[in-house]
Amino acid sequence: MHPVLKLVVQRIALGLLLLLAVSAVIFLGVEALPGDTAQAILGQSATPLALENLREKMGLNEPALTRYFHWLGGVLTGDLGTSLTNGTDIAQAIGQRLGNTLFLAGCAAVISVPLALILGIIAARYAGRWPDKVISGLTLATISLPEFVAAYFVIYLLTQVFPIFQPVAMVFPGMGFWSKLHAVALPVIVLVLVVLAHMMRMTRAAILNVMQSAYIETAELKGLRPIQIIWRHAFPNAIAPIVSVVVLNMAYLVVGVVVVEVVFGYNALGQYLVDHVTKRDLPVVQAVGLVFAGVYIGLNILADVIAIVANPRLRHPK
């Protein structure tokens, strides 16, 4: 087997194993915490009989391990159980909302990645001079803000000072693509701000790192223009760290959307998760938590695989 293929297969297998372990943590770890699910649902004033009935109904009297494998079997066949609070099918509810979440995160990714790369390249080209200082200064200010703080500044600026957008992001089925895009403009701007800084700084650092190599000096002596040096020589060699930091930030978007969805009242997976944490609806929380963890781990595997494939030393073994 080709060594690259072997590494990739190994990485994916390790990722799947990790996902399995995470599912066990999400299910069994919660069991190990103090706190009684039946009590949490019925409240402190519940009678012992009612508690016993509910435990029986939910199968809480069986050993935790049996229930875990039962749950895992359900997850693998697409059956995530039903919600405790309103009895709806969880898999269906997730299916309806996952699209909205992916649309939001996708829009943010499509805008933030090229923007971060361009800004990073400009900052590296003019390293130490004013374009670099302006870009680095602005991104440094956004890097220390949590999503919801950034969100409220953006809301205030773009709905009050310059009234361009609506402060709530409502999307519903049957909405046209463009009106949907207009509706999510504000949350997308917030998400772009949150992930932009890190990607831009890494792009700049990765390119500047490569710029110290001997072949860059050769290119300079050959008389290439600085932007050509960056584009033809530095960028291709800096691509592996850049791609992995980009994908890691896409994984970070997964967490960012949870908060941003709540800020804008956007009906999607993050809002669904937070609502059901408040209601202490454990099956929903576990299922949605597993979905988020799965996407996060998946993107992390992707980052590693791209780093492996992009490494010329591994691609062309001696």
Partner: protein, 271 residues
Amino acid sequence: MRIPVSALFGLVLTGVFLFTAIFAQWIAPYPIDAAVGGVWEGPSARFWLGTDTIGRDILSRLIYGGQITIFVALASSLLSFGLGSFFGFLAATRGGWTDQILSRVVDLMMAIPALIVALVMLSVLPLNLTVLILVMGVLDSTRVFRLARAVAMDIAVMDYVEAAKLRGEKQRWVIFREILPNALSPLVAEFGVRFIFAVLFISTLSFLGLGIQPPLADWGGMVKENKDGLIYGKGAALMPAAAIALLAISVNLVADWVLTRTSSLKGGRGG
């Protein structure tokens, strides 16, 4: 020793924040939970920053909110430091199976975003200060663990550690008397970063309604309470948001300075 302007700015602001947090009871002009004015009053001589959604003085709530935010964040970052550096040093000095088990557990905890883990845990646990501090401290200790382990690995191969081991010192001596004093400076620089992370974490949880519960208020919870005002053009929700941002930026400035100072010290020794 010259302190750069940005670090001085950060130091002074951090100091002001800490001072108001400690002496909140004496500084705040009004009690935390008393409706003392009209709803959504603008800034005036009586209420410097105006009043909130049910007529409470925003400045007073901001001061008390800072006390809770900073206290919770400080407690959980101290916990994460204690746990993380102890287990990190243990993994580095023991090696072998201890290291393997600890490191794999940490890998597993870091495989999912901390916010998601916290949400799953908080759906079962009762919501109170102790639980919040414990959850945040344990989740964040993973990052300290990795740093402490890496730093201690470097120190553990030094001659003086070897010498201590050869003269038959116990593990406790090696960890506390040999490794800890030498690992302190990178860990202290990291502390600022962890503290800010805890501030942002507790603010986010409270904003989602899963952190500090009313009638207590912290900055994240205040943003949540006043968010409707923003649609009517009231800036009340921006005040606590600005406080979070300002605290984050000023501590970051200090941490950056400590970090560059400690690393330039190392450079000066020719290492």
